[in-house]
């Protein structure tokens, strides 16, 4: 009788262990992962047919002066000020491009549609957008295409057939590689680390965590994941959770990943208030302004995101290439000035490249 129970107990524990090993880290999703090569070689892009939309009877404007309007989600915030600067930089570099940014002061899809509609009526050659809603924005973009206006999105996509190209700022496996590589560099190849995320089911965060688990297993096999904790998108809760992790693991804990722009500064604050700067590394996704205090006092060394100036810059180059006929459906890459050749992925998306790491040296150049 007792033997049977112990056996059953052992089996239950054993099967539990196996199940945990299969699902990698808590907070990741179960979708297939595609970790990048450890040396950063570009992964082979799976061929996918072009699925964008094309303008109807667009005039041939190759090399001629063009008028372009950029309608981001909203104007007047640091992030879109930075993309707008990139667009203006590219326009200056390209010459013969008259680019301006205009849009709603709140991230409101109705207002954004009104802006787009007005610019379509007033007559422009190209539209750049960052959609407040992928579906709701589609009809007005299709209207632009039907009038022969070239349409390129960046930052936030629409449904693919409503624009020609979308400049994708970062892929999940790229972010994952950058996060894990930075942690390995700062905390060591054998570091034990924990993760502070929003919730276990938030789609983007779950995808990043799954990709991080796959990349770590492949490229930094001796690092050790301890646990993932949830902190919603709540500043104080994130701080409390990170502090509890520090208290729980003591000296064993060498690093904390922040998976949201709320969790990362709060984790940095927890490390800072806990007097652990230098002994616990914080690596995470965050915007530069929130991280400046910690980066400037050397408590945080790497903040992973993309460079919004480069994003706007690439979007302008992609639009010019589409207007000039240099970027046609089926192309596998496109030239984007100082950024070099950018890869075409997922049918009609242009990949900006590897994520950008903000450090003490460069973080002062950004204001968002």
């Amino acid at each position: 009788m007792y033997k049977t129970m112990i056996l059953a107990l052992g089996l239950a524990v054993g099967s539990g262990g196996v199940a945990m090993a299969q699902s990698a880290w808590t907070g990741g999703d179960d979708l297939p992962t595609s970790p990048l090569a450890c040396d950063g070689a570009a992964g082979a892009a799976a061929a996918m047919p072009y699925d964008g939309g094309q303008p109807t009877a667009a005039p041939d404007l190759k090399g001629q002066k063009i008028t372009v309007v950029d309608v981001p989600k909203l104007i007047g915030i640091g992030y879109f000020n930075a993309t707008s600067k990139g667009i203006a930089d590219a326009a200056t570099e390209l010459g013969s491009v008259d680019a301006k940014t205009d849009g709603p002061t709140k991230a409101n899809i109705d207002e954004q549609i009104t802006f787009l509609d007005n610019y379509i009526t007033s007559g422009v050659n190209g539209i750049l957008f960052a959609a407040n809603d992928p579906v709701a924005i589609a009809p007005v973009l299709k209207k632009a295409l039907s009038k022969g206006i070239h349409v390129v999105g960046y930052d936030a996509n629409s449904t693919p057939d409503a624009r020609e190209w979308f400049v994708n700022q970062a892929q999940f496996n790229g972010i994952a590689k950058s996060m894990i590589d930075n942690m390995a560099k700062e905390a060591g190849e054998e570091a034990a680390f924990a993760i502070v995320t929003s919730t276990f089911t938030t789609p983007n965060q779950a995808r990043w965590i799954a990709e991080m688990a796959a990349y770590q297993a492949q490229c930094h096999p001796k690092m050790k994941w301890l646990e993932t904790v949830e902190a919603q998108e709540d500043n104080v809760l994130s701080f409390n959770q990170a502090t509890t992790l520090i208290n729980k693991y003591g000296d064993e804990l060498k690093g904390i990943f922040g998976m949201t722009s709320v969790a990362t500064p709060a984790s940095a604050e927890a490390v800072s208030q806990g007097g652990k700067c230098g002994s616990i590394a914080v690596v995470g996704l965050a915007t530069p302004n929130a991280m400046k205090p910690y980066v400037e006092k050397d408590c945080v060394k790497s903040v992973v995101l993309w460079n919004p100036v480069d994003l706007g810059y690439a979007a302008m180059y992609v639009l010019r290439a589409a207007i000039d006929g240099d970027l046609k459906p089926g192309a596998t890459s496109v030239k984007a000035g100082k950024l070099g050749e950018l890869q075409v992925i997922n049918g009609s998306e242009v990949l900006l490249g590897q994520p950008y790491t903000f450090t003490k040296e460069n973080i002062g150049n950004f204001d968002f």
Binding site: L245, K248, P293
Partner: protein, 327 residues
Amino acid sequence: MSFDVMQSRPSFPRRLLGFVEANGQEAIILAAIILLFVVVGVVNPRFLGNSNLTSIFSGNAYIAVAAIGMALVIISGNIDVSVGSLIGVLATIAGTLAVNGYPIIVCWLAPLAVGVAINAFVGFLVAYVRIPSIVVTLGMLSVLKGGLISATAGAWINNLPPEFMLAQFRPFGVPAPIYFMVTLTLLAALWMRYSGFGRTIYAIGGNPDAARVTGIRIERSIVCVFMIHGFFAGIAAVLFATQLQVIQSTVPPNLELTVITAAVVGGVSILGGTGTVIGSTLAAILFAAIGSALIFTNVSAYWLRAVQGLFILATVLADMARRRRLR
């Protein structure tokens, strides 16, 4: 045959109820806290480490402070579901003043004044216009939340001056929020117990008609209760705003629920008339400790909500049963 057994010995729920009546909800919560600390402390001794105890008490003191005001409101027979939004707004006001160079004392006191003013209006609508408090505060919740998002566009407040960070002060090595939590709880408890106005609040919540007959000016008292609640929300907001280097300029998710739960589980009858602020503070500490314990025992944080919900149900059921027996 089992009938005889029950005759001779009260059933377990009966005995538990008897214990509650004799020792009060506060004793049960205190026992639960001690039990939790012992059990989790055995599983992982670091749980009882100095830094973890500090973060449990200090990191959640603002909830306990807000729950004091909430307890008064509920004892008076009302409720406030907008307190989370109010704290979000007041914290943003404090931070905005601080980064614009106003004297620190102004930054600390302005949220108190604004909290009192806003809740004076809420109390007026409840007491004189006679709109049920749940409706008024539900409206306030949306007004404050929407207003905050419109006014700040979600921009965070950075670069707060160090001398503003009240919650990070550590007089004699103990974080300032703990002093606030303990002092305010004790003062409020004594005041509720011995002052005339404290007894008035119990009277209004327990039996408004009887209170009116004895000459209590109910309307004015209710406005006062809401104003006091606004004052405590202001203090909570300052502690909340000064914990970290940034203020999010949003409403902390589910904060009102956490505050109401602390008050109710701490023994404040949701029907008004009974309860103490010592209970609400103990309950706030209990939930903070549970949240930390879940991490130490590798249990998903989702359980915190479930546990909070169970506590509410159990407390309200016990309250109902108690009232039925007294009747």
